[in-house]
Subunit: 107 residues, 5 copies
Amino acid sequence: MEVLQVVADLVCTRRVAGMQAVSLRVLQSEQGVVSVASDPVGVPEGKWVFVTTGSAARLAMPDPLTITDLAICGIVDHWECAGNAPAATPDAGAPDAGARAGVRAAP
Amino acid sequence: MEVLQVVADLVCTRRVAGMQAVSLRVLQSEQGVVSVASDPVGVPEGKWVFVTTGSAARLAMPDPLTITDLAICGIVDHWECAGNAPAATPDAGAPDAGARAGVRAAP
Amino acid sequence: MEVLQVVADLVCTRRVAGMQAVSLRVLQSEQGVVSVASDPVGVPEGKWVFVTTGSAARLAMPDPLTITDLAICGIVDHWECAGNAPAATPDAGAPDAGARAGVRAAP
Amino acid sequence: MEVLQVVADLVCTRRVAGMQAVSLRVLQSEQGVVSVASDPVGVPEGKWVFVTTGSAARLAMPDPLTITDLAICGIVDHWECAGNAPAATPDAGAPDAGARAGVRAAP
Amino acid sequence: MEVLQVVADLVCTRRVAGMQAVSLRVLQSEQGVVSVASDPVGVPEGKWVFVTTGSAARLAMPDPLTITDLAICGIVDHWECAGNAPAATPDAGAPDAGARAGVRAAP
């Protein structure tokens, strides 16, 4: 699973049958890589979400036969994007992602 | 799912049985990476489409036993290719993909 | 699916049971990345083929229980390798892959 | 399978149904790539773990219908991170990973 | 499928149930990328093997419910590692992998 940011809706008027009710969102990684995910949660733009890929993406949809290979599974409570502030990474390779992920006791 | 551009047909006279009726298209990403997808939609060249990978690709075909790992699922209404105009990206890493994806209310 | 070139056979005398009848070929991408595919077609060396990955690769084999994650599905009629002649790409990012793929009406 | 380091918990109050009991951990590779895995083991931060991806990740969970595409499968007894000490790799490409993986007789 | 070199055993005392009998090996690609595979063959260190990924990896194990996404499927009879001798590649992009793979008639 990965943590990506919702940046836009994707508008596709013409699509294959069986995708008509699926909301599609444009996501961007910290490195700027763009991908498209189905959104069963309803996430506002700008939020950081975690996504599942492959056959697991279909399990996240209300209908597990939905055509998708990337689905939003939840909204991350707190995520500091290291990709937008590379100067703030003094020690590359060190386990400094803890501060970014809002470390708290596991739910 | 990814957003790719249709650039050509792929002509394969000799292929395994079970692929005889599938239309194959050559797709290119914004970064110039070339891949091949099955096309159940019938997309004109030059259009930007979104594709699914893996087992989800088979679900997008009229026959879900079609041999494919990448299928075109729909035509994107509006997509500005950032890869062709890197100078137009003043703020790398910022959520500027919104302008590219033709943000409208989700369908 | 991807388009790769057959460059050699792969000789593996000692292998797991259930792979004894499968012909293995060494493939190379335009960028020089090497991979190994099962070959149900019987492709001469030097030909450009298109391959499927994952569970779709098994569907391309005569026995769908064959152990493979990359299978040759067909021979491309015409493919010009851009990777060997980067100087011939005057407009990076433009949809110039059409000329490489032998554009004809879709089969 | 890959060997990654646990660096933090991931807190997601709002998530899709069917993930409520799953503990999520932020992992980091030797190269600093961040990913999120479900954790059926209960691993302390800082430990190096090995993970499985795709449909195999679901088999590692107590409930194989859990929505995940990356699951922690075990704790590596000993792992020296080469990514944090690139100067300690005098012979790039040589099979020097043996010293890092704590070579002992296979269990 | 890929061709990788066995460089070490991976020792994991604490692991999820259902993996207790699986031998884990540390593999390294020609480019130095490290991964972990289950080994149903019993390969000596230093050998070059070919591996399958995803659901195909489980089919290579004696028990197809084994938790793995990368399994060793066989030992390559002869493989010259180009990654350790980049100076020996005079013509990048050319189909020179044939000499590396020990070309013989397919089994």
